[in-house]
Amino acid sequence: MSPTNFNLHETEFQRIQAILGRMQNELRAQLVLLISRSGQPIVISGPAENIDCTSLASLAAANLAATDGLASIVGEREFSVLVHQGRRRSIFISDLLKKFSLVLVFDSTASSGLIRYKCKRTTLLLEDVIRDFQKRIEKAERVMSIPQFSDEEIEELLGEVKSQ
């Protein structure tokens, strides 16, 4: 499965959303995201007050990518969990099968030990869903259901008049 080209069916999306929602409630996290390693937010759970999830996803993916680089330099296979502790809010980032990441934003009332424990459990549940849709994609003839849009439609999207 390409890290950037895949699609989720609604049932898979709902399974993931349920897992993230449960985690968010149990930990009273402000935000829980599943993101791709290329920095795309895939499923978001939480009120996300004033948090730019697009930028958060991109930066979290870059953070993990940079950390992979650091691990390689010091002879480690990976640093699969990152915690950034702030005064009011903290961020927890965890790798999922090297293709996705789990990102949590939580406030200072949450216990980081409990978060690590719950994340470990949630990671296993998410990995099951991801493996299921990986198998589906491997069996399918085509990765994505993209309609065959025409050149004219592309030009219209790009706001140009197609030249004759």
Binding site: R37, S58, A66, M144, I146, Q148, D151, I154, L158, G159
Partner: protein, 180 residues
């Protein structure tokens, strides 16, 4: 992905796109840069292009740091790339830097499993307004890889920036259509 030698105009391209895009169609422009505004890790700008057959299309524009010693960062950011804009610095004294950067791009793409000959790719010849530039045809001959679109630009003034973005977006969409 905007690629190219240091101080060639990659970040300037993104800054212009950010400036001219309406608020509802853009996210934040994130710039991870040094105190002297040299790109340290990347710039990032999400842009909404609108809908095509009911599909919302969003492009994530990234730049890489151009300075030679940031190669390990460039490799990380290239993962998962869909298309590349090479921003060439048209000044005579930067010709070697352009050539080195293209070679670096080809090598880094290969490491990621991409082929520069096959990936959506546009060549932008930037800084065309400066007095010491290589003639466009000569520069094109030196830097052209595969008959890709070549667009002359003055990114500081916004000239050529949008045509460049549209050219690479077009190729990315055509490639996406082929993969379906």
């Amino acid at each position: 992905m905007y690629y190219g030698p240091g101080l060639g105009g990659k970040t300037t391209n993104l800054q212009y796109v950010y400036q001219i895009t309406s608020t509802e169609n853009k996210g934040k422009l994130i710039s991870l840069a040094t105190e002297t505004e040299r790109t340290l890790f990347f710039d990032f700008l999400p842009i909404d292009f609108g809908q095509i057959r009911g599909f919302r299309t969003r492009f994530h524009l990234y730049t890489v740091p151009g300075q030679v010693f940031y190669d390990s960062s460039r490799k990380l950011i290239l993962k998962g790339v869909d298309g590349v804009v090479f921003v060439a610095d048209s000044q005579e004294e930067r010709l070697d830097a352009n050539l080195e950067s293209i070679s670096n791009l080809a090598g880094n793409l290969k490491e990621q499993g991409f082929d520069i000959a096959k990936i959506p790719y546009v060549l932008q010849l930037n800084k065309r307004d400066l007095p010491n530039v290589v003639p466009a045809e000569d520069l094109k001959q030196q830097l052209l890889i595969k008959g890709e679109p070549v667009i002359e630009a003055v990114a500081m003034k916004g000239v050529g920036v949008v045509p460049t973005l549209k050219a690479v977006a077009r190729q990315v969409l055509v490639e996406l259509r082929k993969s379906a």
